[in-house]
Every structure is written in C-alpha cells, then in structure tokens.
Subunit: 252 residues, 2 copies
C-alpha cells in the first residue's frame, strides 16, 4: 500500500522523510555528539526507536568506531547495532533508524555502492519513513551528491551521486575565510563557488560545526548552536540563522 502511494504521489513519499543532518560529531567544547543530543533523542523517541543501525564505513576500523558511537546512544537509552556485523542489505531492510557517522566520504560512498545499499537506504528512509541521522560524511552522502565534500579522494567511487534524501548539496565543517591566513590554497567559499560554476542551478548549504539541518517531510529548519551559510548560483552568499525555515531548499 505504501509502495503504490509512493509511486503515485511524490508528496506522500516526502511527507515521510525524517532527517537530522549534522555538520560534525565533534564540536569544540562538547563531548562526542553531545551538542545534538536533544534533537537526536527527540527524533528517535517520537518514532519509538529502540535500536539504531550504525554505518561505520567512513572509517577503516569498524569495531573501534562502533565502541565510540555506542557510548552516547546507550547513555541516551538506545541500543546500537553496526551494519558490519550482519548482512548489510537485510540490516537496512529491518532497521528502525539509521546513523551514518563521519570519516572519509569517498570511502563511505564507495562501500555503500559496493554493497548495493544506496537504493536500499534511500527507499527505507523516503518510502518507509525511518529516521536518518548523518554526521559529516554521513551528511554528505545524504544529499544528492558528494560534490561538496571536504575529504580527500582516497578511493574512486562508481559515481558521486549519493543517497539523494535532499535535492541540494551540503558542505559540512563549513569554515569562514581566515583573513589573517598566509595560506594560499583556496578558501572553502572559493571551492564552493567553483562547484557552482559547473552547474546550471544549484544550492550548497555550508553547515558550520555545531549547525544541524532538521528535515521533517517537506519542512526543513536550521538547528544547533550556530548559523549556516547558503550559496546559490548567481547570488551573493547569505547567512542563515538558527531556527530559519529552509523548506524552499527541498523543492527540486
């Protein structure tokens, strides 16, 4: 029944979308993931989630990564199971909620393709409406493509297209230009502008560390501790304050 409504009506599909996209897991002055605890717990509790499926593919040591992630979630009252300890595709199909952590975005996306998980996660989140939490690389892959990651291209994925849970790009760990710097490499803003040169129309949301995008159906709101910077082709970048409605970014 859900399946047919999904294909008949895009709005029904989108109405199920529940995402929490974090710029980073670590924020200066806060314990791992702790700055986002309220938003994470609220999302999981509202959906009666007891166990979160963790995807550790962005780092090489999955078991160590799992141990790190279990701590805050357990403290908050949630179990964590890692996808690397089970049949990955089955785990996605059974998941109550998914958390994809940070690390290297290229390694993460390549692994998702290698294991045939891209479409499976997209369906589980957009069609079945399970909560998706991403941080850093996990936020990059949640968008339409990884074209605006900061990471080093250490492996070659079969495509830069990603989970496409939102129809725009995010740049996590967004950093403002440092006027006092003697470094001559491109600033983050210059890099994002180079991406926009390649597109006919495009939006890139630069999420500073501590900023979070909450998406509920067709509504998007900036949450967290700090504002974001929005880049739109042909326009001057604009500042986005915490609490701002960003639902217009969800229109393809």
């Amino acid at each position: 029944m859900i399946s047919s409504r999904y294909h008949l009506d895009g709005l029904v599909k989108m109405a199920k979308r529940q995402l929490l996209l974090l710029s980073s897991s670590n924020v200066h002055g806060h314990e791992y993931l702790e700055y986002a605890a309220k938003d994470i717990c609220e999302l999981l509790t509202l959906n009666n989630v007891s166990t979160v499926l963790f995807v550790p593919y962005a780092l090489s040591n999955h078991e160590e990564y799992l141990k790190k992630v279990e701590q805050p979630f357990r403290r908050w009252g949630f179990q964590v199971e890692s996808i690397h300890n089970q049949n990955p595709l089955e785990a996605v199909k059974q998941a109550e909620a998914i958390f994809i952590g940070g690390g290297n975005t290229f390694r993460l996306l390549k692994t998702l393709y290698d294991l045939n998980l891209v479409e499976a996660i997209n369906e589980r989140v957009l069609k079945n409406g399970i909560p998706y939490i991403g941080s850093s690389a996990g936020t990059n892959v949640a968008t339409r493509s990884i074209h605006t990651t900061n990471d080093m291209p250490i492996v070659y994925p079969p495509s830069f297209d990603s989970l496409n849970l939102v129809p725009f790009n995010i740049n996590p760990h967004y950093q403002d230009p440092d006027d006092g710097s003697k470094h001559k490499g491109e600033t983050r803003e210059e890099r994002i502008m180079q991406y926009l040169e390649e597109k006919d129309s495009s939006h890139v949301l630069g999420l500073r560390e501590g900023a979070t995008l909450s998406v509920n159906g067709n509504t998007a709101v900036l949450k967290g501790l700090i504002g974001a910077r929005l880049f739109i082709k042909g326009q001057k970048p604009r500042e986005i304050d915490v609490g701002s409605d960003l639902s217009y970014l969800l229109k393809e």
Copy 2:
C-alpha cells in the same frame, strides 16, 4: 628511433624526464610564480625553449588565466601560448614545454581525459623529454593519481589515475596541524593517513607552499624555500629539507 629505445629500455625513457613540480603558484610575500623564477628559467633555458604551452583547464576562465600567466613568463623572456586557443592534441605534440597551472584538480583531469590529452602529455614528457612545469593542480595531475588532492570534487573524472610522470603521490599546499585550532575536521596529515590505509604500499610527498620538486631523469631533489613532509605507509612521517635527494621515490 626514440620510439624503439623507449619501448626497449625503461631507463632511456626516464633519463629524458624533466619536471618542476611546484606546491603552489602563490606564496606569502612573493609575486605570482616569482619564488620559483630561477628554477623555471633554468629549466627552460637549458632546453632552448622559447614558447611554453600553457594548460588553463583547472580554472573556468581560460582567457583571464592566460593573461595572468603570460606576465611572469614574458618578463623572464618566454612566450606563452594557451592550449585553449588551438587544437589541443596538436598543440601538445608540437609543444617545446608545458606548464599546467593550479585551480580545481578534478576539473583539470576531467578535461585532460575529455580531450584525450593524458597519454599524449605523458608521451611528450617521458618519451620526447620536453620540460613539464606544474603548480598545485598541475602538480597533482603530474603524479600517478589525484588521490591526494585537497580540491573539492566538483566534477566526476573517468578515473583518478593521472599523467603518471612520477610513480608516487604529492599533496600540494601541505599544511602542518594547527594545535591551537578549534576546528574538528580532519588535519591534512589525518587525510593522507586515510589514503595510506587504502594502499598496500605508497608514498605521499607533502609539499608545503614554497616547496618544489625538481626531477631530472632518475634524480629528484627538493628545491624552493621550505622543507616537505614525506608519508610512507607503516612508517612515521619524516621531514625533508631543501636540497635533499629524493631519487628513491622514483623507483616504482
């Protein structure tokens, strides 16, 4: 004659290699390319070069880029012709020397593939021995792959394999970790270490801004204003002083 020697004897091929690989064109306190003027002029003069073929594909505005690059080369007594104003493949075949400037490495490499220039440049440099000067993105593509670029993946090239003029990787604009930083994104060293995790054996030379690698046949020497940092899988990173012999990196 050159062709048959090339295929019969790898050493003959390598003996022709003449490269100058710059970390960056801009260095704090110096005019554009000026810090490397002596090394550039020496390389071109020794080879009786009068006209340099410029490859501007890493930036979007080729004409503007050409105007910028012409200035220092003219001042030093060399003509510059840009590949974007002629038949690209023919231009490579006729070139006396090639200079590939910085910008976005992904855009640069994709364009080289789109125009069938990867093999042509490789042959012209390794087989015919014309001087190759690269800066930043132009240094990245000179190595075996672009896996260690700092750039944003704004376009999807058909491969990360590049010109393969040297059998290792370079990270240009290398930056040491900033212990005072509140930023939680990966340091450059962490990113390079993630790359080494993916390889059985590999070398990455981190060229700080102002550092230059000079390759003459099977000899490589660090030149420029500042040292480099060398990353080898399974070993502690080591400091490389200006003037150091790095020829061992050329052994595949």
